[in-house]
């Protein structure tokens, strides 16, 4: 079993529900829960993968009799049929499809591979060409395995319908019947993106990475932009090819997305600890860029101080710090738990033990523990309503902390800005505009602009 499989798989059919409920319980169970979680972590680890890879690995279809092993495998696996099947006039040809094709940048993801930038990256990496390299295609198109490609599938269509909604060969026909519950299509490869948790995982699989898709440090060094993501903001920015549901936008989607991203980043870290990049270090992409990429000597860096060992890069703060601040205001108990889990990861990474293997194993486990906990948190937040006063307190708290958040790097500053925007959307929906809070948000923005004048644009 590869290290990645140990972390992201394998799949068992009932893993999602069981693991999900259990981790929600653990969320509230405190110390005892943490121990239990530690002991059961490998089994619980399935949840995440289950959700992510279900379409590709879906179990046997309902009632079809297998012919030969070869055939059955092909027949059982949902196939990617390409965008043409969705784009006919009576289906999505007049609504979702043109929005995607004309306005949504996902439809240009494949074309990008032909531009000068992509060529340059491929040259540095000594790839034959970006448009044929699985390393690029896995996110810039749908990298369907050969057995799952229908004749109509075409890799040049970019990040098309099935990239997010799942391979459609089996659910394409039943899903046209609106009376068929969407959940019943999941076994056929359908991904219910209206479910915020599923949506987060689907987006994060490329926009943060998973076992197969990673913008690692080598790719960034070669010239690929570093990844950045916030579920609510990116959903809002995406030209909608669906009817927006006001109740899901804002605070809830933001908070859930934050927890999901933290969990995902910890799974990546765990895999990278298992399979170090260089000198025993997890891939540098798990660390904060500016902790190394600043001119030396940097007085600002030294003044800020170090969370662990000076000179050892810190794990990216951008996926934790704003969430941490938010929890501190609205769920102090959970924030304390987060701190405990986080401390274990940092202490593990910075430990100076003479048994590297044991230290590595412990740290990997600490990252997985945090991932599981954050997955549970994400589920809890999916059904959590935030009151106007909670939202106000959270916005005030994040804004008041603007300088400190900005000091953690542009990526953290950016997350702070996206956070207050998302939280204010929900606040407004409940209590209407509030000039005083808007002032707070303006202050935060001016601090961030002041610190990162070249990165912040209108």
């Amino acid at each position: 079993m590869s290290p990645w499989q140990r972390i992201f798989g394998p799949l068992s059919p009932d893993a999602p529900q069981r693991a999900g409920r259990l981790s929600v319980r653990l969320l509230r169970a405190g110390r005892k829960g943490a121990l239990m979680l530690l002991l059961t972590a490998p089994a619980l680890g399935l949840l995440w993968t289950a959700l992510r890879t279900l379409p590709a690995q879906a179990a046997a279809p309902n009632g079809s009799a297998p012919a030969s092993p070869q055939q059955s495998q092909t027949a059982n696996q949902p196939q990617y049929v390409g965008i043409g099947r969705c784009a006919s006039a009576p289906c999505h040809g007049n609504d979702a499809f043109p929005v995607w094709q004309e306005e949504d940048r996902h439809s240009k993801a494949y074309e990008l591979l032909f531009n000068r930038h992509s060529r340059s990256i491929a040259d540095v990496l000594e790839l034959e060409s970006p448009e044929t390299s699985p390393r690029c295609l896995t996110c810039h198109s749908v990298l369907a395995p050969a057995a799952q490609r229908a004749d109509s599938f075409d890799v040049s269509q970019g990040v098309g319908c099935e990239a997010c909604h799942g391979p459609a060969s089996q659910w394409r026909v039943p899903h046209t019947d609106e009376s068929v519950p969407r959940e019943s299509l999941v076994g056929m490869g359908f991904v219910p993106t209206k479910d915020l948790g599923r949506r987060a995982q689907q987006c994060l699989s490329c926009h943060l990475g998973d076992a197969e898709r990673q913008v690692d440090h080598e790719l960034i060094a070669a010239g690929h932009p570093e990844l950045t993501f916030e579920l609510d903001t990116f959903t809002a920015r995406m030209p909608p090819h669906w009817e927006r549901d006001a109740s899901s936008a804002g605070a809830r989607q933001w908070a859930l997305g934050q927890a999901a991203a933290l969990a995902q980043s910890m799974r990546l870290l765990a895999g990278r600890i298992d399979k170090p990049m260089w000198g025993g270090f997890p891939d540098f992409a798990s660390f904060e860029c500016t902790s190394c990429h600043h001119y030396y000597p940097s007085l600002a860096r030294q003044r800020r101080g170090y969370e662990g060992r000076p000179g050892y890069p810190p794990v990216r703060p951008s996926r934790r710090i704003v969430l941490n601040r938010f929890l501190q205001t609205v769920e102090p108990g959970l924030q304390e738990r987060l701190q405990v889990y986080w401390r274990a990861v940092v202490d593990g990474l910075h430990s100076n033990r003479s048994e590297p293997q044991a230290a590595r194993e412990e740290t990997r486990q600490a990252a997985l523990d945090l991932a599981l906990w954050a997955e549970g948190l994400s589920q809890t937040l999916q059904s959590r309503d935030f009151s106007a006063s909670e939202l106000e307190a959270a916005i005030r708290s994040i804004s008041a902390d603007a300088e400190a958040l900005a000091a953690h790097g542009f990526r953290t500053a950016e997350q702070a800005k996206w956070a207050v925007d998302a939280l204010y959307i929900s606040y407004q929906a409940q209590s209407g505009p509030n000039p005083e809070i808007e002032q707070q948000i303006d202050r935060l923005e001016s601090v961030l602009r002041g610190r990162y004048p070249s990165e912040v644009s209108d």
Partner: protein, 448 residues
């Protein structure tokens, strides 16, 4: 004076030493006893050297082996005398806080180089760390030889005093702090906490140090000093690498300080994407191995190698080969930990041989020109190897051309080029290999 009236001089100095001894005995009888019984030389502090007839004269004596005003030069002009006081400033406070070591001026980690901080068994009660890097920090704890070194019959080394007229001994002594030794090291943790990175080149740093000794060397001694200093620095840095690679702790190895700083410490410039895309300066420079991994810093070998190519052509290929092996091993520093330590030892042994042969290097104008031209012709390799290599090349050009100018006359044009090399390194926190390499290349035409 020594020659004319040796007896009187010796008598005066012995008297001074005697006074010091009496002083000690008078105030601290226990010390005097310990002093007589001890086989270990005790540190007595710089005041013990500062009697007016010894090294505390207000003006230099023209005659004699020593100047006699050494103490005054050190205490008023030499920055070694202020090494302790910097431990009290804001930078030191911040560093100590980042390191969690308590006050810097009380931490052994700092005092080991910012003062003379011998083990307890070697301390007398006269020693004050507050004096900074005083006489004994370089010349050794003096109680066993303070009285007898004034006559120096049979040589100072025989008395247990380090012989600093030997350039190799001196280089080892300087490097013990300025590069690190078995117990002292400015590693990445210290640098991150705020300590400046160490830079050192023997001849340049000696030229910068207010001179408290009398030069008795021949015309091309500067070249020998530079060459020996380079070889000893390579040897000691390889021993340091060997020690570091022998550590097993998870976060103790690899040690980032062994790798090229600007490979990580550069800005993340993002140019326009799409068709307007421009590769970043780092990407334009290209990657010698996997993109995104820090390469080893070859600054201790890459400039020395240019001297070998001229002075001992047969040996430069051998060093190149061994260095290449080390560089390749360091692409996977943890997997190759044991091999790295072994390879570092091999290169240290080679460097030991160079140091021995450079002590008697017969330099001349033609050779120095050839080394400078060689440096210029390797400008791309040197500048691409990083800022520390560029620093070594700059100090090499400075040291070599100073000797050349002294013996064969110099040109303002070359002086200007050397100045521009220094300015290039100081002008911006961003090291720019392209512009540095261009200036270094100009040395060739400047020498013509």
């Amino acid at each position: 004076m020594m020659k004319n009236r040796p007896i009187l001089t010796t008598a005066l100095m012995s008297l001074a030493a005697f006074c010091i001894d009496v002083g000690i005995a008078g105030s601290e009888p226990r010390l005097a006893v310990a002093h007589q019984e001890s086989r270990v030389s005790l540190a007595l502090g710089s005041q013990s050297c500062a009697a007016p007839v010894c090294h505390g004269s207000s003006a230099a004596y023209a005659e004699g082996e020593v100047r006699r005003d050494e103490y005054g030069i050190w205490s008023s002009r030499d920055r070694h005398a202020r090494a302790y006081s910097v431990l009290l400033d804001e930078t030191a406070r911040r560093m100590a806080a980042n390191l969690g070591i308590g006050p810097a001026h009380k931490a052994g980690l700092c005092l080991d180089c910012h003062a003379f901080n011998p083990p307890a068994a070697q301390r007398s009660e006269l020693l004050r760390v507050t004096e900074g890097v005083g006489c004994e920090a370089c010349h050794g704890a003096s109680s066993l030889w303070l009285g007898s070194h004034v006559s120096a019959d049979g040589g100072r080394a025989a008395l247990g005093m380090d012989d600093h007229t030997d350039v190799e001994t001196r280089a080892v002594m300087c490097l013990s702090c300025h590069q690190g030794d078995a117990t002292k090291s400015v590693d990445h943790r210290l640098i991150a906490a705020g300590h400046p990175m160490l830079e050192f080149e023997l001849d340049t740093f000696e030229a910068l140090m207010p001179r408290h000794w009398k030069a008795t060397e021949d015309n091309w001694a500067g070249v020998r000093r530079w060459a020996t200093g380079q070889a000893v620095a390579l040897r000691e840095s390889m021993r340091q690498l060997q020690r570091r690679a022998s550590r097993t702790g998870w976060s103790q190895w690899p040690e980032f300080a062994d790798f090229e700083c600007s490979s990580c410490h550069h800005s993340l410039i993002v140019y326009a994407s799409g068709e307007d895309f421009q590769p970043s300066p780092r990407q334009r420079r290209g990657f010698s191995s996997t993109p995104g991994l820090p390469p080893w810093d070859p600054s201790r070998a890459i400039v020395l190698r240019q001297l070998l190519a001229v002075a001992q052509p047969g040996r430069s290929a051998e060093l190149d080969e061994e260095v290449k092996t080390l560089r390749d091993l360091l692409r996977s520093p943890r997997d190759n930990r044991v091999q790295v330590a072994d390879q570092a030892r091999r290169i240290a042994d080679l460097a030991d041989g160079y140091a021995e042969s450079f002590k008697t290097l017969q330099a001349n104008a033609q050779m120095v020109r050839a080394v400078l031209t060689q440096l210029a012709s390797q400008s791309s390799a040197i500048s691409d190897a990083g800022r520390r290599s560029a620093q070594q090349a700059t100090m090499a050009a400075d040291a070599l051309y100073a000797s050349y100018r002294h013996n064969a006359g110099g040109s303002a044009e070359v002086d200007a080029i050397v100045n521009r090399l220094y300015l290039n390194l100081q002008s911006s926190p961003a090291y720019d290999p392209a512009s540095f390499g261009q200036i270094l290349r100009e040395l060739e035409s400047g020498l013509r």
